[in-house]
Symmetry: C2
Subunit: 324 residues, 2 copies
């Protein structure tokens, strides 16, 4: 039987290549030395089996996704990732599972050059709690409360394929997807790409005002910006960039899943009109598509319009972990 | 039905009395401004129902304990607490439970003047994951690897009452405890006291070398210090300070539960002989009992002795979350 200490040593303790962490795994606390003059950004996300992922989910994809959704929060703040802790409850210490999970986790960590600096393992219903740390210069954070009337609303990447894949798995679609389409859409659901470089550059270059990552559906998440910034918005639903598979579906599904899909982990940010060219240049430099989809208004409320500028009345709602 | 946002707002979002946090709950990340020149200490602990606490546990006590075990890790490092995040999976958004839990949590947070700066809530089997942040001056951390031959071994407070209470609940005792004794011992199990002030002063005044908090039983936890410091120890088992209730029990139980009980959340630290008087003065100043219980030796291995200095061969083992 694999003990807790063997488990940590075998799967999660790696040669200490610390430039950041003064002390990593193996003591009561990890120690990090903050870069002088920088603020620390912190976010914590918990993923529960049967809620955030299917029972029996491929552990490699799960390792990626658990870290990706946390990095996405740093991206939405414009913070540069530094490290993370992992607390993990497992029904059993299964080697194949741990091998896959740690591989998926560290592949993404290495892509961003960040370290696992500490955490906890215990027996229990599968639960993954990651806390990430990032750094940014005071005053540069992309806060939800910073949108201003007249700002453009931008979306990174494309929306809705993750929701489409979920609908496919759940047999909710009017007609099932082709197997290849289901697989392609599922890649967006299982292995989201945190838009870290884009968020960091938008913050460092002072190009954007407010930002949020789209996890519960664009309309709900944009709603947080509107509420905290005390502004409204006009959103062109037909301008929302649909994922490759969703783009081949009918307009009803496209509108619903781009506007209120969920699990996208793209950035929604607002920026002054004067930033347009610089934003396109920055997005191009990091290879991320960005699309203008509406404007922030002084008048409160969210107005949805179609390609012709006519009002759209979509019956959509945001995902909530306790009411849905 | 209480939504996720209402839940956070109603039970976990408090008037922002931030001296530390530049930005608290309600954005993608929390922001903290590290004190210039200080290191950040980070620890994460996950508590699972049925594993770390009984199903149906009083939520007020649980709120206290979940934060206390994390603060205990900061104490063992000698770091001054700054704030924490809370990720919480709940089977349902039950108001009475949330009321009690948040009350227990914030009572302890207020006692240490620290803030809840962010986190996550979701539906799922009850799981509490707290990540704490503290600060300390570079070079002052009480590391597990820092024990030196000739050091005294010290214990804060008393040991074993938590384990005695658990044995009482499990009907494992040769004869049941009196109801009043069971209740008194259970206080130590349910509401441990993190030795934060003691740990911080030992570190700040440079009085101790190594430290660890005793969560899995003294022998196992001291074993981590010995292994990482590449030293051995002689431990006088009969000098171990027993909890008030355990002190009334027979010598077999006393030895077993002080030496390898678990859930004590006292500090075990090593310090040079020259520090003795200063340690007693510091402990007195914060109202915490400390007891010398042995010595660190250059020779490896842990030797248990009794009050007369004779070798003791206790068949004890440390608690492990995957093998027990």
């Amino acid at each position: 039987m694999l003990s807790e200490f063997d488990l940590i040593k075998e799967y999660f303790q790696r040669p200490h290549h610390a430039t950041r962490a003064a002390l990593g795994i193996g003591d009561d606390c990890a120690l990090i030395a903050p870069t002088p003059g920088m603020q620390t950004a912190i976010s914590s996300d918990m993923l529960v089996e049967g809620r955030h992922f299917f029972a029996g989910e491929d552990p490699l994809r799960l390792g990626h996704k658990a870290l990706a959704v946390n990095l996405s929060d740093l991206a939405a703040m414009g913070a540069r990732p530094v490290g993370f802790t992992l607390a993990l409850a497992l029904p059993e210490a299964n080697r194949a599972w741990l091998q896959g999970f740690s591989q998926g986790l560290f592949a993404l960590a290495d892509a961003f050059n960040i370290e696992l600096i500490g955490g906890d393992t215990t027996k229990g219903p599968l639960n993954i709690c990651i806390t990430v740390f990032g750094e940014l210069r005071p005053g540069q954070a992309l806060r939800r409360s910073a949108a201003r009337a007249g700002d453009d609303i931008w979306i990174s990447g494309t929306l809705g394929d993750a929701r489409l894949a979920l609908a496919g798995y759940r047999l909710e679609l009017p007609q099932p997807l082709e197997a290849a389409d289901q697989r392609a859409a599922a890649v967006r659901m299982h292995t989201p790409t945190p838009r870290v470089e884009l968020g960091v550059l938008l913050a460092e270059q002072g190009l954007a005002h407010a930002a949020i990552d789209i996890s519960d559906g664009l309309i709900g998440d944009l709603g947080h910006i509107l509420k905290l910034s005390k502004v409204g918005a006009t959103l062109n639903v037909d301008a929302l960039p649909a994922g490759d598979v969703l783009a081949t579906q009918g307009i009803g599904l496209r509108r619903a899943y781009t506007a209120a899909g969920g699990d996208d982990y793209e950035l929604c940010f607002t920026a002054p009109i004067a930033s347009r060219e610089a934003i396109l240049a920055v997005a191009d430099s990091v290879g991320t598509q960005v699309t203008r989809v509406g404007s922030i208004t002084a008048e409160s409320g969210l107005r949805l319009i179609d390609a012709n500028g006519a009002a759209l009345d979509l019956k959509l709602s945001s995902f909530d972990h306790f009411t849905s």
